[in-house]
């Protein structure tokens, strides 16, 4: 397989597991770079294609997807309920009791599957800075190995959603401006460990597959994050 064939194949199907394609990627540095670029772009595509279900209401689509099913609903009601479900926007319940915050964080994190991937790739500092700046935050370059940085709508607010590659895998960091917690709040659900730490103007939620990654990732971020730029 030559480089042109590889690029045609990989550019059409980045998930291709053809042995010749994989072997060429291994042997050719330029094509390996091309492949990484395509995969990075595809991660952005996934996010872009996942348009919110409730148009114009700013609600994240996961809120509708996690709605509990109504039991015994007549079949005709199914289609109607879909429309209703789609039409109902997310209520801003930022200030709701913290009981559900863990579930909401996990739901958000798991919905963005691209953020759960172990990778050697790092987002450029300019991108990280841009995402943070949108939430009036800043962090010096080199504090953490950030592999994913996006502004997400969470509980009706714009929230920086970062992924840092920890010792045991990806660690999700969500910076929750204005969400105050009295003290560090930890949780363990669905196979994930999490902690919500109070911070200057809100809190920082950190979720990892291994508990040991929480402190390793959280300390430098908590120490270096600037809240009002």
């Amino acid at each position: 397989m030559n480089c042109l064939e590889f690029r045609n194949q990989f550019g059409a199907d980045p998930a291709c597991q053809d042995q010749r394609t994989l072997a060429h990627r291994q042997d050719c540095t330029a094509c390996a770079r091309f492949a990484a670029r395509v995969q990075d772009f595809d991660r952005r595509l996934v996010v872009a294609l996942r348009v919110p279900l409730a148009g114009g209401q700013g609600g994240p689509y996961e809120a509708q997807e996690n709605m509990a099913p109504a039991k015994g609903r007549a079949w005709i009601g199914l289609a109607a309920s879909l429309v209703l479900g789609l039409g109902v926007g997310l209520l801003t319940w930022w200030s709701a009791p913290h009981g559900g915050i863990a579930q909401d964080l996990l739901a958000h994190m798991q919905h963005e599957q691209v953020s759960l991937v172990s990778t050697d790739e790092r987002v450029p500092y300019q991108r990280l800075a841009r995402v943070l700046r949108k939430s009036r935050l800043a962090m010096p370059d080199g504090v953490s190995e950030v592999s994913y940085a996006r502004s997400c709508i969470f509980r009706g607010r714009l929230v920086p959603h970062l992924v840092v590659q920890g010792e045991s895998g990806p660690v999700t960091v969500m910076i929750l401006r204005d969400l105050k917690v009295g003290g560090p709040t930890s949780f363990s659900e669905q196979g994930f460990f999490g902690i919500i730490l109070p911070a200057a103007a809100g809190s920082i939620a950190i979720i990892a597959g291994e508990e040991s990654d929480l402190a390793e990732v959280s300390e430098p971020i908590v120490e270096s994050l600037r809240w009002d730029i």
């Binding site: 045609n8 194949q9 550019g11 059409a12 199907d13 670029r37 395509v38 772009f41 595809d42 952005r44 595509l45 996934v46 996010v47 872009a48 294609l49 996942r50 348009v51 919110p52 279900l53 409730a54 148009g55 114009g56 209401q57 700013g58 689509y61 509708q64 997807e65 099913p69 015994g72 609903r73 079949w75 199914l78 289609a79 879909l82 429309v83 479900g85 789609l86 039409g87 995402v131 949108k134 996006r150 502004s151 709508i153 714009l158």
Partner: protein, 167 residues
């Protein structure tokens, strides 16, 4: 009594199935017609048709493919029945602010707009692959074109988007 239980079980299986897929069905419908309310109608019609022919679905693990097939047919029917006025993409981004443009992440809004600008022949296989997770073989089956044509369209769609987005 037994008949009622059977009907209840059928309804329950259908609801479970649609609950799993309705989000992505809507998104696929949206990218097909680029209109929020038409996409809602399309999904509604699709689910009604799916319910009527639910017994014909032998393998529920194939539900996603089956539902998309129905949705594509329904889209063609709707298009024949009622020719919706076409909208310029620049107007669309204003009209559909909630879906395309009104995200605070400008990169994301730009990318969504660029996807919307793709010709349907390129956009559809891309959505089927990236959002719906279908293989190129499955996309060829759904779109009733050859797998080679699917690969070409996917390659060109990515190339156009990457060029637009990375410039």
């Amino acid at each position: 009594m037994k008949q009622e239980n059977t009907e209840e079980s059928r309804r329950s299986r259908f609801e479970n199935m649609t609950r799993t897929h309705e989000g992505d069905l809507f998104r696929f419908a949206f990218w097909l017609c680029r209109d929020h309310s038409i996409a809602q109608d399309l999904v509604q019609e699709t689910l009604l048709r799916a319910w009527r022919s639910f017994d014909s679905l032998r393998d529920e693990s194939a539900a996603r493919y089956w539902l998309i097939t129905i949705l594509r047919r329904e889209n063609a029917r709707m298009y024949e029945r009622k020719r919706h006025p076409t909208q310029d993409i620049d107007d669309l981004t204003q009209a559909e602010q909630g879906l395309l443009a009104n995200t605070p992440d400008t990169d994301l809004a730009d990318l969504r707009e660029a996807i919307g600008r793709l010709e349907p022949d390129y956009r559809e296989p891309l959505v089927l692959q990236v959002l719906m997770g279908f293989s190129t073989e499955e996309i060829a089956g759904l779109m009733e074109i050859k797998q080679g044509a699917v690969l070409t369209r996917l390659y060109r769609a990515r190339k156009m988007l990457m060029k637009f987005f990375e410039e």
